[in-house]
Amino acid sequence: MVIPVAVVITFAFTAVFVVAAGADPFDAFYRFLVAPLTSPVTLLEVLVSATPILFTGAAVAIAFRAGYYNIGAEGQLLAGAIAAAGLGMVVGALPSLVALPIMVAGGAMAGAAWALLPALLRVRSGIDEVVTTLLLNPVALLLVNALLNGPWRDPETGFPESAPIAASAELPQLVARSRVHLGLVLALAIIAVAWFIITRTSAGLKLRAVGSSPRAAAFAGLDVNGTLLRAALVSGAIAGMAGVSEVAGIQDRLTGGLSAGAGYTGIVVATLGGLTMPGVAAAGLLLGDLRVGAGSAARALDIPSQVGEIVQATLLLVTIAALAIISRRRSTQAGR
């Protein structure tokens, strides 16, 4: 319901840009939103685009749900990517069945490790995690660059990229002649498991209690700091797996540009999805669709690539506005 309405309003707002760029707005919107879903090839590409933000969306949602504002998924993703590349270069002798779990576990641990300092500062000393997680993002990118400019620079090209990871460390493709890889399954599995834990287990109930009222949770004897710490580390671990997924599923090596802000997009995915796991899945797929659509629409319509960004941003704003209006109407109706 929300999405179609949001699309229509976005259409009205952004048509002026599309027309200014010299294209037919109806055609443009078809290409932005619908076209990617109409062919199997592009549909699979939507899944490829959605994969990293499904991870980061889930990571952010879990942390926010616990009342821990992890703005550092970007840095945690990069930490996971570093670990994946490091391990991927040395596990060549092992069969995939052994190598892949090592990669995923290593990336998760690296993501959690990158999340550890802010989490400890928060629970031990009450230092605000927004500042620390946010400021560690550029630091993680600098670490990637330091490795790529230094010891890991690809000896073959001299370009700041790592050497390729071993073939046995690559995440296998799922569909022949497409780039959809095992990372997607991993992301969806994590979303499913997270959904189960949050809604169906005592740990999840504790997380929800701590997140929405830490005082009441503490009064009831729940371990508030422990829950926060665990949520922060799990969040970091999942974001780290996004890094593994991109390195081992798409790039086959560590590069400086592998993220394109997936950590920040995760915040959008998580909040757009109402911090619920089904919501994260839906929002992640929507944004994946938009990314694929924007990429080809701009070319097919011969309009500058920025128009795609404008449409994406507007759609995002209109959607969040529509959600706000709907939730308000619902609450006033309930009040009557």
Binding site: E45, E170, R179, E246, A260, G295, R299, A300
Partner: protein, 336 residues
């Protein structure tokens, strides 16, 4: 890591890239596929040459930019090949090396001409790079001869081979005309961020530098503000600070573009390394006209030295060394 998507309908259609195909429509279809926006200088040079070619007639030119480094290149390039079916695709493969190579392999009838640190790949992937170390060497000679403090500054984006070799060549040139010279080198860790580049340049000026080589945007602005001499990069940038820019180290893709298009039209295109077309010998690299109005003027003796060296490079009697390792922050003259 897998084959690029091919849209089902397109595989059977006749390759538009063949010489006969384009002869029918009258003009050769050329496409640009750029990882950055075309405002970025490197891709901007390729874009400018292709636009010029279109204006000259004989080809139609279309492009997509801002594809990024986060895994979209493979999809976008695949879509371009399958849907637009151009005869030639120009672009840069840095940071997207494997993706470009996979797509090129899938579309053997299209000529792929990509900036790359790797070698060509049969049958259809040719590589080029900006081999502008020769004019950089000449610029170094000028800078070394003009400095009064015996300290020069270079501000670059990342220590990638392309930037390293022009920086090293610049240093070598400076050392030729001024054995006492010290060269400060700062990488700002970004392809843009002119404010950081300017601050890096000012830090070098504070440390004594009085002639600056502006590998990135922002440095000329610093020279303008402090009224110092500076050297532009990529294109002739004298108009940015008419009294301060002595000359620019320029790259010109037109020789490469013309050569490739001739070959394709003649049906004799093969995969190759197009390096030579980006060097001084074939007009792909040059020192922009030296600005005789620059503050303080330029000694005739120095001009003669540079002109002589340029001639030596042109007729092959002098070869500028290619050094692709990253220079340190301060290159100090070898003692004794």
């Amino acid at each position: 890591q897998t084959a690029a998507p091919a849209s089902p309908g397109s595989s059977g259609s006749a390759p538009a890239g063949s010489a006969e195909g384009s002869a029918e429509s009258g003009a050769l279809e050329v496409f640009g596929a750029f990882a950055t926006q075309i405002e970025e200088p490197w891709d901007g040079v390729i874009h400018a040459a292709l636009e010029k070619e279109q204006q000259a007639g004989g080809v139609t030119y279309d492009f997509t930019d801002d594809i990024g480094y986060a895994g979209d290149m493979e999809r976008v390039l695949g879509e371009i090949a399958a849907q637009e079916q151009p005869a030639v695709i120009f672009g840069d493969a840095f940071g997207n090396e494997e993706a470009v190579r996979r797509v090129a392999k899938d579309y053997p009838d299209i000529a792929f001409i990509f900036g790359s640190g790797g070698g060509p790949a049969d049958p259809n992937l040719s590589v080029f790079d900006n081999w502008i170390h020769e004019p950089a060497y000449l610029a170094g000679m000028l800078a070394g001869g003009l400095t009064e403090s015996d300290v020069l500054g270079v501000v670059g984006g990342f220590p990638v081979p392309e930037v390293n070799r022009i920086t090293n060549a610049f240093i070598a040139g400076a050392q030729e005309t001024n054995p006492e010279v010290e060269v400060k080198v700062t990488f700002i860790n970004s392809w843009f961020d002119p404010a950081a580049a300017k601050e890096a340049a000012l830090a070098q000026v504070d440390a004594g530098a009085d002639v600056l080589y502006a590998e990135r945007f922002g440095v000329i602005e610093a020279a303008d503000e402090r009224d110092l001499l500076t050297i532009g990069n990529m294109s002739d940038q004298q108009d940015l600070a008419p009294e301060n820019v002595i000359t620019s180290v320029t790259w010109n893709m037109t020789p490469t573009v013309e050569y490739v298009i001739d070959q394709v039209q003649a049906g004799s295109y093969t995969a190759q390394d197009l390096k030579d077309f980006s060097m001084v010998g074939k007009g792909g690299a040059a020192l922009a006209p030296i600005n005789m109005d620059a503050t303080g003027g330029i000694p005739q003796e120095l001009l003669d030295q540079v002109t002589a060296k340029e001639g030596a490079i042109r007729d092959g009697t002098f070869r500028v060394d290619i050094t692709e390792s990253a220079p340190p922050g301060s290159v100090i003259p070898p003692s004794e």
